[in-house]
């Protein structure tokens, strides 16, 4: 039973996806720590440290994802969380952009996996289980 931290980063209040991710991951047996909307990088990192989480799932819907996620990986490493997997999904940039480019930008920023708009969380569960089994 893996522990994962989920939440919505920045000044973002989109709550619906977050509630569904919570529900679905629990159904799949994860121990879900949900820090909810309007969460800062610090909130994610602290929650991961406190609960010894194996992964952080950042949601960003509102378009400021790129600004809000800046240096997140670096901050995690600094906090001793270099082993924790880092995912992001939602509508993570402003506007309709070519997703392969977006993915590349976020991978460079240290995200292990990057999910395009409208990803059904069911489809990501497999990836996460696989990554955590490997790790």
């Amino acid at each position: 039973m893996y522990t994962v931290v989920i939440g919505v980063i920045g000044a973002d209040v989109h709550a619906v996806g977050n509630k569904i991710i919570d529900h679905v991951l629990k159904e799949h047996g994860f121990n879900v720590v949900n820090i909810g909307v309007l969460s800062s990088q610090e909130d994610f990192i602290n929650a991961a440290i406190e609960t010894d989480a194996k992964a952080i799932l950042v949601s960003s819907l509102y378009g400021h994802g790129e600004l809000d996620c800046k240096y997140m990986k670096e901050n995690m490493v600094e906090a001793g969380l270099s082993h924790v997997k880092l995912y992001v999904g939602g509508n993570i940039v402003v506007g309709k952009q070519d997703f392969t480019e977006v993915e590349e930008r976020f991978k460079k920023m240290g995200f292990d996996r990057v999910y395009p708009p409208g990803t059904n969380i069911e489809h990501a569960v497999g990836d996460i289980k696989e990554d955590l089994a490997d790790a």
């Binding site: 920045g10 000044a11 973002d12 209040v13 989109h14 709550a15 619906v16 509630k19 569904i20 529900h23 909810g36 909307v37 309007l38 509102y62 378009g63 400021h64 790129e66 600004l67 509508n91 940039v93 402003v94 506007g95 309709k96 952009q97 708009p117 409208g118 059904n120």
Partner: protein, 491 residues
């Protein structure tokens, strides 16, 4: 002091005003002096006055259109506005405010403006009006030909409201409930009602000077399976709170639910009930219009499907006689639209409003029953709120949310009970699955339960949260009533 639904005194207001103007340097602008702002607003021609154009629309039985749009930099924003006016035939223009400004994080916004300049693309999801100040906002006003409105989601929009009105923007969206519960996590209703009393009082003060400005409570709330009676109740309460502060021109809103009959019933009752209760509670001279928001939940990613959904929204809004439509774009599921995509949503909507202009939706027993049920539910919620507030709507709201008498599905706010669950019935009407503490009587509850049980029976599964989840996904998958267990029949 306990907050009450009572008009702020001028003294109180102007005292507060000084403090608010100090929240960010642009607040110091001398054009924010009341007389200067009055002079400017008096010079706004009728064709650029939101309130007057709405009156005009209602008189002529027109359904008008307005997009959402906003980018980080002033000149690009103007270009965007002009494009939507010209190529989208927008009757009203918005300026959607970015999310940092909404949370009063003006320095974050400042950084993002700089980044946007550097990266030559908008790094913000809207127009940071406070940072741009009257300089920027008035420039926008001068460069368009139709009325402007700030659209946001800001719990504390006092400085923002001051700046936009003093720049000639003649409408402001929001309210103490509708810009709190869906848009914040732990700001008290006490605070947001107070903030919005201020914004409303500002409009009331302008009204005393003979300037008619429009105010628009945010109707769709979380945009996700909100039963009409709940959003109506909140719209009506916010209309009352605004009227108390002297607002004379109010547009109440509603987010398309997807069943045409329920949508028409909702639009018709939104208009009649708001007028009715405003009068009942002593606000006789408020001019009421309605706005319908095209589908506010998750959109299909395919652009052709999105255009179809947009058209359906325009159809029901026109048939339901909404005064205004807030349009969506074919990019909705992906991100902030390009100006071209935004204009496509507008043009599709405009065609529909014009094609259906003289058409009417037939009234049969089903429509009548739907309307009666909405009326009954709204009455129940409204009086329960008033009751728990001991006769005061401001207190009532605070207590009602605390006890779940008012409850908005899927809201992020901790002030919200979050105990009710909606789901659709077989025809796609939004019904209530879990009532939480909603003070509904047995007849109402039975009505909802029967409808959902009929669905359960038809789908061969128990009525449960799974239906709700399926329904949340449904429209983005191109259907209205979700059923993840369903297999399409085939030959």
């Amino acid at each position: 002091m306990m907050i009450m639904n009572k008009k702020l005194s001028k003294e109180e207001f102007f005292k507060k005003r000084e403090e608010i103007r100090s929240h960010w340097p642009t607040g110091a602008d001398e054009r924010l002096e009341f007389e200067k702002a009055v002079a400017l607003l008096k010079s706004v021609p009728d064709s650029k006055n939101f309130a007057k154009k709405l009156r005009f629309a209602k008189e002529h039985d027109l359904t008008m259109i307005q997009p959402r749009a906003g980018v980080a930099l002033v000149d690009q924003h103007i270009e965007l506005m002009q494009f939507l006016e010209k190529h989208g035939k927008a009757d009203f223009l918005p300026s959607t405010i970015d999310s940092y400004t909404r949370q009063n994080r003006y320095s974050h916004a400042e950084d993002a403006i700089k980044q946007s300049l550097k990266q030559k693309r908008s790094m913000l999801n809207g127009f940071p009006a406070v940072n741009h100040g009257i300089d920027g906002c008035h420039k926008v006003f001068e460069n368009v030909n139709v009325p402007l409105q700030a659209r946001h989601g800001t719990p504390d929009a006092r400085l923002l409201s001051e700046i936009i009105h003093a720049s000639g923007w003649t409408s402001n969206e929001g309210g103490g409930i509708s810009y709190n519960i869906p848009y914040a996590k732990n700001i008290s209703l006490e605070d947001t009602i107070r903030y919005w009393q201020y914004c409303d009082r500002l409009v009331g003060l302008y009204a005393e000077e003979g300037i008619e400005l429009n105010r628009e409570p945010f109707g769709p709330l979380t945009g996700t399976l909100v039963p009409p009676s709940i959003s109506h109740t909140i719209a009506i309460i916010e209309a009352i709170l605004a009227a108390e502060q002297g607002v004379k021109n109010i547009t109440v809103g509603y987010g398309q639910c997807g069943n045409i009959t329920q949508d028409v019933a909702a639009l018709q009752t939104l208009d009649s009930l708001t007028n009715y209760y405003l009068k009942i509670f002593g606000y006789d001279d408020v001019f009421v219009t309605t706005v319908m928001h095209q589908w506010m939940g998750g959109f299909p990613s395919d652009e052709a499907e999105a255009m179809s959904l947009i058209s359906l929204g325009a159809t029901v809004a026109t048939l339901g006689n909404a005064t205004k439509i807030i349009t969506k774009s074919p990019h909705e599921s992906q991100g902030i639209p390009t100006k071209e995509a935004n204009a496509e949503g507008l043009r599709a909507s405009k065609l529909m409003t014009r094609m259906l202009k003289t058409q009417r939706y037939p009234s049969d027993d089903v429509l009548k029953a739907e309307k009666e049920m909405i009326e009954k539910e709204v009455k129940t919620l409204l009086y329960a709120t008033l009751n728990i507030g001991k006769g005061d709507f401001a207190q009532g709201v605070i207590q009602a949310f605390k006890h779940g008498i008012l409850d908005i599905p899927f809201a992020p706010s901790e002030m919200n009970h979050g105990k009710i669950l909606p789901a659709r019935d077989l025809r796609g009407n939004i019904r209530i699955l879990e009532f939480g503490n909603l003070p509904f009587d047995d007849e109402i509850k039975r009505f909802h339960k029967d409808a959902l049980e009929a669905r359960g029976k038809a789908e061969g599964r128990p009525v449960s949260f799974k239906m709700t989840i399926d329904d949340i996904y449904a429209v983005s998958q191109g259907i209205l009533v979700g059923n993840s267990e369903y297999k399409e029949p085939s030959l």
